[in-house]
């Protein structure tokens, strides 16, 4: 007998892949991230659907536009960047909580997006990426003609 798992949530696939990413990154110890934190990887993301687009938002304080690289292939969004350390010398750190170094994060979107229609804005350390869904995955309205 075959087991059929019914998935009602449109984002369940994304969540699953995210879990897989987490597993992999934990497995590899997140070395590639330049960030020793276990878990999701940097930057943290909020993603939601807004009609015919997905909006991905990340908090990237202290990162300049030229230090960010965003690319989209099919349903994969990649955010790469680097936060530079201050070249302070002759100083004592009392607290050092802000991570530095390069990072890279790949996000699998629930559907394909149009790579031509990706808009990214960076404002006060908040990165917002608007990804228009690909024409192929948009719902099509079908005209019914009376016979």
């Amino acid at each position: 007998m075959m087991m059929i798992r019914r998935v009602n949530e449109p984002f369940a696939g994304l969540r699953f892949r995210n879990e897989m990413d987490r597993l992999w990154s934990n497995f590899f110890g997140q070395q590639a991230n330049g960030c020793e934190c276990a878990g999701r990887g940097y930057p943290n993301l909020n993603v939601w659907e807004d009609g015919e687009a997905y909006i991905a938002e990340a908090e990237v304080p202290g990162i300049k536009l030229e230090d960010l690289e965003i690319s989209v292939v099919d349903d994969e969004l990649t955010i790469k960047g680097e936060r530079k350390a201050c070249g302070c010398e002759d100083v004592t750190y009392h607290r050092r909580e802000r991570g530095v170094g390069s990072f890279s994060r790949v996000l699998h979107l629930p559907a394909e997006v149009d790579p031509e229609k990706v808009e990214a804005t960076l404002s006060n350390g908040v990165l917002t990426i608007k990804l228009a869904k690909a024409q192929a995955v948009l719902p099509r309205k079908i005209e019914v003609t009376a016979g």
């Binding site: 984002f11 994304l14 969540r15 995210n18 960030c35 020793e36 934190c37 276990a38 878990g39 999701r40 990887g41 940097y42 930057p43 943290n44 993301l45 909020n46 993603v47 939601w48 659907e49 807004d50 997905y54 938002e57 908090e59 990237v60 304080p61 202290g62 990162i63 300049k64 936060r83 201050c86 302070c88 002759d90 100083v91 004592t92 750190y93 009392h94 607290r95 050092r96 909580e97 802000r98 991570g99 996000l107 629930p110 960076l122 006060n124 350390g125 908040v126």
Partner: protein, 132 residues
Amino acid sequence: MTTCAIDKPANTEVVRAERTQSERYYRPNVDIIESTEELTVHADVPGVKADDVGISFENGTLTIHGKVNKRTPENVNYALNEYGVGDFYRTFQVSEKIDSAKISAECADGVLTLHLPKAEAARPRKIDVKTG
């Protein structure tokens, strides 16, 4: 394990005075650097505009409050929700003697930088030793 910028803890500190609004506040990650002239505080406050920063220094207590304007639509169905959005708030007890009149701050790219110059009396003085 070092703490990274990805941690954005909700405020767990004991706050001295309760605020009237029961909103959630976040604790910004900070670097505090001491040089011979000053203490420098860098705080990650993404989403905070320079006009929306409130800083006070009273009786050696430094308070940082960054107001964050709501930017996500209400009742949104998140595909991923890895962080919360809200104001930043944190206080420090500064033990060094600070020349409070000369405190300056700037806010750019979501990072607040505070300069707390040490009071003249607290600066190290180089003492020349003369040979007899």
